[in-house]
């Protein structure tokens, strides 16, 4: 291996690492706030990339209909719950409208936009508008009722959601893969290395997103409310913070980060309906570096995973997944010796 190859591999690894870092952050965020180990994080990556791919070929993506169906289900469940509590019909109606307004708007917009071949950036924004609200709805339908269950039960729910979303991905996008067009086709030479515009976009968007998350958590009331929920759910509730609201918000952020990551890597890799899962799991390996609790450690872990993957695929390409996923064992070992036995009560 000479310096050029090492440079290319490094660049490749850091680029993918940036994506894993975003996903790792989302995973840590969701776990801290809701105690949900969010296995389906990767599905939102695939949904993001493939929703854009569908818009590219002028088809209304199936995710639009999923959004509508989930919103209808949520509205129905809310109405049933309201009936049992004898809440007036007008308030039930307003609640239903609130739940359904955005999905209906997005549907109309998609029906109008899909055949028109809008510019890439407009389609990307529409993609985010479709996929992001899926997050809160998934929380509402799958997790909210079980918010106080053990981490183990929530984890099994996550696996169920992963199954359902992957299967639906196959229905919506079919079995073949798509590669999205690049957002920026420019290439820059840096010594022997050549950096593509897309790579730069990945870096810039990742850094911008991390920065805005930091500002959100440090300087806004909602961000602080989320942090309070992460520290102590009951205490936050007593202070008037809605824990289910916090849960939905965190899932919304996770879906947004997932979809955005999908848009970012769509041009650099061929996406299939089930590719997202593996990408999301690499985010998990990164998050485990920080014990599912530390954002900076997750980011560092993500870079490590990215580099390991790119060098692994150079030296032993057939075994690159084996290498990446086996690294979790020494990491866990290291953590267990650092932190010793942790006891948790159900």
């Amino acid at each position: 291996m000479d310096f050029t190859i090492a440079g290319i591999l490094m660049l490749d690894g850091v680029t993918n690492g940036a994506i894993y870092a975003l996903l790792g952050l989302a995973i840590v965020l969701v776990f801290a706030i809701t105690r949900v180990i969010f296995i389906p994080q990767g599905e939102f990556v695939a949904y993001g990339a493939l929703t854009l791919a569908m818009l590219q070929i002028g088809v209304v993506p199936g995710t639009v209909w999923l959004l509508l169906v989930l919103a209808l289900l949520a509205a129905l469940l809310d109405a049933l719950k309201a009936l049992r509590r004898r809440i007036t019909a007008s308030r039930v109606g307003i609640g239903a409208i609130k739940t359904l307004a955005w999905p209906a708007l997005v549907m109309l917009l998609s029906l109008w936009a899909a055949p028109r071949q809008l510019p890439l950036i407009a389609q990307s924004l529409l993609t985010l508008a479709i996929v992001t609200p899926l997050g809160p709805l998934v929380y509402r339908l799958a997790y909210e009722k079980l918010a106080d269950a053990s981490v183990l039960v929530l984890l099994i729910v996550s696996v169920g959601v992963h199954f359902a979303l992957t299967g639906l991905g196959l229905v919506f996008f079919g079995a073949e893969g798509f590669r999205n067009p690049s957002f920026w086709d420019a290439r820059f030479a840096a010594g022997a290395l050549s950096v593509s515009g897309q790579t730069l976009i990945i870096f810039m968007v990742s850094v911008a997103l991390m920065l805005s998350l930091f500002l959100f958590f440090e300087h806004t009331l909602r961000g602080k409310a989320l942090r309070a929920t992460a520290v102590n759910r009951l205490g936050a509730r007593l202070m008037g913070i809605s824990t289910s609201g916090a849960g939905r918000l965190s899932f919304g952020l996770a879906a947004f980060i997932g979809a955005l990551s999908g848009l970012l890597i769509g041009p650099t890799t061929t996406m299939f309906y089930d590719t997202g899962f593996l990408i999301g799991l690499k985010g998990f390996v990164a998050a485990i570096f920080g014990g599912l609790a530390s954002y900076p450690a997750a980011a560092v872990g993500a870079l490590f995973v990215g580099l390991l993957e790119s060098f692994g695929s150079f030296w032993a390409s057939a075994f690159k997944e084996v290498i990446v996923f086996t690294v979790i064992i020494p990491v866990l070992l290291w953590r267990s010796f650092q932190h010793g036995q942790v006891d948790e009560e159900e």
């Binding site: 984890l155 299967g167 196959l170 997944e321």
Partner: protein
């Protein structure tokens, strides 16, 4: 009895099935169900009983299957040897994985098993000697003496015999010393460790047992399919196994069989209908599986078998221990010997000093009261003595030996037994079984003995002791009730009986009288006096001053983590400092 009849009917149907003119298709289905059920029984043990879970069971099936197939195809080794090789390989892999992850919170195991399941899948698919993704072909059938099990019908008998044996063995295991320890680790390790259970070892044991069952299923799978390739051992299948366990009922051994059956039949129907409905082809059934899994957890957490179970009459435990010999008892320290010596222990949580250089002694045959207002550091002192939290400074000695720094279970082994301020019990077990957990350290039989029922003699002695302690504390009427159904006061009494079951030299009681009625308190005081008379030392934290003052020999008063005063009940009652601590001072 209905249960026995039910089992018998099940066995007869199983035995007759292959002899009836059932289409071959259904025999094949039944064989798959049996293969899955073996794996799911392991998951029941792991998830339903020990409160852990794994998505990597399919990978353990794969280890068993590939070991059998590789050795048979390339080296011609007999299946009756390969099954043991597979068990050893799987056992070592599971032990390693468990050893790495189970020291940490429970959710790291499932995450590690996801990674492990994926890694093994890609590994199997890339090794030349194992045929890469094509796998190994031409695995010979198993020979059972002169019979070659090369048809679905003949294979059926071997398979289902193993399934029934595994179910019975696991049922036996659950009703044993190890079984109680397995259930105890579910609610956190503090209580289990205080009973002397090595929770880490118990968790690893559960994980290894589940993996071994999966390995046997893999061995059978290889010789049933006569070919292996990586796809049935991937993560998707690992998740499906867990789905079977949850659907059938993760807390019941028979739920495993029901779950495996339901999922297999459902899968076949869905694989026919969904592609017609949705067009194209693919694993559409996972959509339904995912949604059903979430719905089951939301609306019927105990699974399908729980519905059957609730209709069956509850099995009353047969009392067969009346004439069992008593367990050997510890030699009591001579009256007046210093049993517990707490020397200037200190506990700091960051800047907060919860216990500030507190010293006191407890002698044999003495009841020492530890009182003080809420937040005085009494419970923290308890935790320091019993090894639940480590002291920042200072030393605790028990019968002259330093015990600070030892884990709870080692302190328990030396004869220190305790109750908890907030009752810690296994709600789904009977009172008798909960109390028998206290005698954990007085038994020695393990997993294998329990499965083969070689532990019955010891088990009778343990249960006899549990009953004796319950009678002593006045709970003879509640022996076979579920612990979770007891009133709070009775649960506290049950904890005392459980602590006594350990045959302690020193008993630590954390607010034992809270929630008791007046009569019950008097009865409790009588029991404690009697125990003192037998030479037991008792450290008592209690807010009921009548009880404390009437019962204790000496009292230590704590306030804000510091020892305020120590003396006889009369001295303490007369002390103005104590009055000020409880009631404030007059200005």
């Amino acid at each position: 009895m209905t249960r026995t009849r039910f089992l018998l009917a099940f066995a007869i149907v199983l035995a007759a099935l292959p002899q009836l003119p059932v289409p071959e298709f259904w025999i094949t289905q039944a064989n798959y169900i049996g293969l899955y059920a073996l794996v799911v029984i392991g998951l029941v043990l792991l998830t339903g009983v020990a409160g852990l879970t794994s998505f990597g069971q399919a990978a353990f099936v794969g280890l068993g299957a590939y070991t059998a197939a590789y050795l048979a195809v390339t080296h011609g080794v007999s299946p009756w040897i390969t099954v043991w090789v597979g068990l050893v390989i799987t056992g070592v892999a599971a032990m390693l994985l468990g050893w790495v992850t189970l020291r940490m919170s429970g959710h790291y195991l499932p995450l590690a098993t996801i990674a492990w399941g994926l890694s093994l899948y890609y590994l199997l698919g890339n090794i030349d000697a194992l045929g890469k993704y094509d796998g190994l072909l031409g695995v010979p059938p198993i020979r059972f003496f002169a019979i070659e099990l090369n048809t679905g019908r003949s294979f059926f008998y071997l398979l289902w015999a193993l399934v029934v044996l595994a179910s019975i063995a696991v049922t036996h295991l659950l009703d044993s010393r190890t079984g109680r320890a397995l259930r105890a680790v579910r609610g956190g390790s503090t209580m289990a460790e205080a009973m002397g259970v090595d929770t880490f070892r118990v968790k690893v044991t559960a994980f290894v047992l589940a993996a071994l069952l999966a390995s046997v299923s893999g061995w059978l799978f290889a010789h049933f399919q006569r070919t292996v390739n990586p796809s049935p051992f991937g993560l998707k299948m690992g998740i499906e196994y867990l789905f079977m366990a949850v659907l059938g009922g993760v807390g019941h051994v028979w739920g495993a069989v029901v779950g495996a059956g339901m999922v297999k039949i459902l899968e076949d129907q869905l694989q026919v209908w969904l592609p017609r409905l949705l067009g194209g082809s693919g694993n559409y059934e996972i959509i339904v599986f995912g949604i059903v899994l979430v719905a089951v957890l939301q609306y019927a957490r105990d699974g399908l078998w729980a519905f059957v179970e609730s209709r069956l009459p509850r099995r009353e435990r047969v009392v067969d221990w009346a004439d069992a010999p008593a367990l050997p008892e510890r030699e009591r320290p001579p009256h007046g010997e210093v049993v517990l010596d707490v020397q200037a222990v200190r506990k700091q949580f960051g800047g907060l000093v919860a216990v500030n250089d507190v010293s006191f002694q407890v002698c044999a045959g003495e009841i020492l009261g530890l009182i003080g207002p809420n937040g005085a550091g009494k419970s923290t002192t308890f935790n320091l003595v019993t090894g639940v939290t480590a002291a920042t400074r200072g030393e605790v000695r028990f019968r002259g030996e330093r015990i600070s720094g030892l884990p709870s279970r080692e302190i328990a082994r030396r004869g220190v037994s305790r109750t908890f301020q907030h009752v810690k019990m296994i709600a789904g077990m009977t009172v008798l079984e909960n109390v028998a957990l206290g005698a954990h350290l007085r038994g020695r039989h393990g997993v294998a003995a329990a499965m083969l029922q070689l532990d019955r003699g010891e088990e009778r002695r343990l249960l006899r002791e549990a009953e004796r302690q319950l009678r002593r504390i006045g709970m003879a009427a509640h022996l076979h009730e579920l612990a979770g159904n007891l009133a709070l006061g009775s649960q506290r009494l049950m904890e005392i009986a459980r602590a006594l079951c350990a045959d302690p030299s020193l008993l630590l009681l954390d607010e034992p009288a809270a929630g008791l009625r007046h009569q019950e308190k008097r009865a409790l005081a009588d029991v404690l006096r009697q125990l003192r008379g037998e030479g037991l030392s008792i450290l008592l934290v209690e807010h009921d001053m009548d009880l404390v003052m009437g019962l204790t020999d000496r009292v230590v008063v704590m306030e804000f983590g510091t020892k305020l005063i120590e003396g006889t009940p009369e001295q303490v009652q007369a002390s103005p400092a104590v009055r000020a601590a409880y009631l404030g001072t007059e200005h």
